[in-house]
Symmetry: none
Subunit: 424 residues, 2 copies
């Protein structure tokens, strides 16, 4: 089953609005194993919209449209779908009644224009719109299915979930043909390095594997199609692949599916009932902001210091004037003293520090832009890691946050392992 999405709306073409509706529909169709081949966006222009619809309905089995259901004369999606499919338009009295009620609830008469919203291609299945005045529709004709949805995401999404989703699962794309998917998330390896380690797994007949580079992470997307195997068998294929990938990549794999680095780190801290504090220079508060992003973070995050100036490094963290003078603010020594300083001020189990040159200015041959030290202190001792990042200021800052979180993750995994071995 081949599908495509056609969106209409001048605000999308002008770049005023992001096309989140297409994104939403695409994700839902893919999760059912429906192959989405194209998204096309056109403005409220009848010729271009007709041409795009003609092409889409011609080449795909399923076409989902969003937008162009408003009351004005440039809202023409239903009319043009009917024209392309050679179906007449017909009034749906119950939709007209609902639109009248919509205005009734607002104590306003229905403008004549809105009557248009109660007309549909004949024999459509009509999808009610509890939020706005534009109902949607499903039209099946000549082996082609067209699903017509409103543009605004807050109208489209509930209509999709309540009326389109059950229809898709029951009649349009029954279970047997679904796609089973799994995403593994990797930190600290580039695309080519992962490819090298996994190359022999990439061409298995019943498994497809794709690598996707995110800013600080690599995602490995595994897909096993249930059309070839039963869903349980496909899950087995994914389980085996995951086990093998984890065996080869070790703790470079930090999570899967919806798991995030932040969520994983928070969970490790909570599980071990550890508290943490931060001392930030180049990240300027981003690391604290990350730790406090999710509710419940007060269970493990005590707070920290943003010691952007040297005076605050000394005054609030007790970094020594001597180290600042001898090694400079961006140094292993200062990273360590920052971490130790906040550890002792906060009385936490763990402390993490960042100091670096985010750029674009301030770099030198010896300490180039992107040079970062991350310190990690516990009551047992302190270490610092030197990392060289590349990129723009905001990128260096974000990568530093991710590397610091990963450092906490690895520390927690190791301490957990030590504990399990009985060393700790």
């Amino acid at each position: 089953m081949k599908a495509e999405i056609v969106s209409t709306g001048t605000e999308l073409l002008l770049g005023e609005t992001i096309n989140t509706s297409a994104h939403y529909v695409a994700g839902k169709l893919s999760s059912l194993g429906i192959e989405v081949d194209y998204h096309t966006t056109v403005g409220d222009n009848p010729e271009r919209l007709e041409q795009v619809l003609r092409q889409a309905i011609g080449r795909s089995d399923l076409v989902v449209t969003t937008g162009g259901l408003g009351p004005t004369i440039d809202d023409l999606t239903k009319e043009l779908v009917a024209k392309v499919m050679d179906i007449k338009m017909a009034l749906d009295p119950s939709s007209l009644e609902q639109i009248k009620q919509f205005f009734g609830r607002r104590k306003a008469p229905m403008p004549k224009n809105n009557e248009k919203q109660a007309y549909f291609p004949k024999d459509s299945k009509i999808l009610p719109n509890p939020i706005g005045t534009a109902p949607g529709a499903i039209i099946v004709n000549n082996g082609k299915t067209v699903i017509i949805l409103p543009g605004p995401p807050f109208e489209m999404t509930p209509m999709f979930d309540n009326f389109v989703w059950p229809e898709l699962q029951q009649t349009i794309k029954p279970e047997a043909e679904r796609m089973n998917e799994r995403v593994l998330k990797v930190f600290g390896m580039v695309e080519s390095a992962i490819e090298e380690v996994l190359v022999d797994l990439m061409d298995l007949p019943n498994l497809s594997m794709a690598l996707l580079a995110k800013r600080a992470e690599m995602h490995i997307r595994l897909v096993a199609r249930s059309s070839e195997k039963s869903s349980a068998e496909a899950e087995k294929v994914l389980d085996n692949a995951e086990t093998e990938i984890r065996r080869r990549l070790g703790n470079k794999v930090f999570g899967r599916g919806q798991e995030t680095m932040l969520g994983i780190v928070g969970q490790l801290l909570k599980d071990e009932k550890y508290t943490i504090a931060t001392a930030e220079s180049c990240t300027g508060g981003l690391l604290g902001a990350a730790f406090t992003q999710e509710p419940g973070s007060s269970e493990f995050y005590l707070g920290g210091v943003v010691s952007y100036s040297n005076s605050l490094k000394q005054g609030l963290l007790g970094v020594s004037e001597e180290s600042l003078a001898k090694y400079g603010a961006v140094s292993e020594e200062v990273a360590k003293e920052m971490a130790q300083g906040i550890l002792s001020k906060a009385g936490s189990d763990l402390a993490i520090s960042t100091t670096g040159i985010a750029g674009p200015d301030g770099g030198s041959d010896e300490k180039p832009v992107g040079l970062v030290y991350i310190g990690l202190a516990t009551p047992e001792g302190v270490i610092a890691e030197k990392i060289q990042f590349y990129g723009e200021r905001e990128s260096v800052r974000q990568l530093t946050v991710q590397a610091a979180l990963n450092k906490v993750r690895l520390h927690m995994l190791n301490s957990e392992r030590r504990r399990q071995r009985g060393d700790g």
Copy 2:
């Protein structure tokens, strides 16, 4: 000039990634008055991508592509553009050198695959990629222009801003045909309130005005077309409109065009040679992260404390145990003590604090989710403002940061005015 955008990437079709690149490019092209007629997204499928490119290059004067520039064999955008335009591919030695350097800096050999990224349609203008290994290109042939950009927004956006934008303005879409546009930015007024104050300006014959709601700001977009007037005359129309709007809205207008709240606040602090420090609870470091977002912020931002736990509010800021017990952490009293505490620790001219209930938990009837206090301390005294926000956790945190920045802005404007009057 008719333009369209072609995006390639299976992750877009599958709904895993939102197509923010198309949105960004569309907004930029539109702002130059270039008519964007279509966005099309296809996966990494050679036949479908070729067909889409052939259609796009056939019907539009300018085609911008995003994605498909990676090192793997399913990355085919450049090759297919060359095929459709009937141009040979050629190696660009300087790009090859840069890609090698990219790996060299990471102390890794360049995988053979990456060589492919140094090949371009012959006679392309090559666009360097300082962040990744995929350079972009501009190809002009037979009256058609194709601009080839990488897919990841953090690579695409700087390439667009640094290399494509000047090219578009100078050669592809020269000044004479532009739309003269101006955006005024407002903080602290809702859409309907602005509309009420400006309603009589909204229907002038040679000026179009639109209101656009952002998360914490309202933007007033004024457009005068140069095709109807000379550019100088159109600018005059905008000047007059801006003067009138500023007269009516006063210091609710905080900036225009590319100016940001953050940039304006930083400039005010620099102009007055003021230093500032932060004490954050509910924003968890976001306010410090905002102050340090732009280079040069060390001129005015000294740093601060993220006092997420009560123990750090006491230990690092000297908030009294009595106030915490009597009024609670989210209170006017504690906001004031936090601001005073960091002012005295940092020795800054100004200090700003945040404490609130970001949610989703922790609210009560008396102190609902979204309740925030912002404190502002100077050596002359301290004040705190109570604000009730509505929305999700991240939204409350971001709105708090913006409100805190605006509080600093208004303070600086007032102290500047006092100084000019000779009071200060």
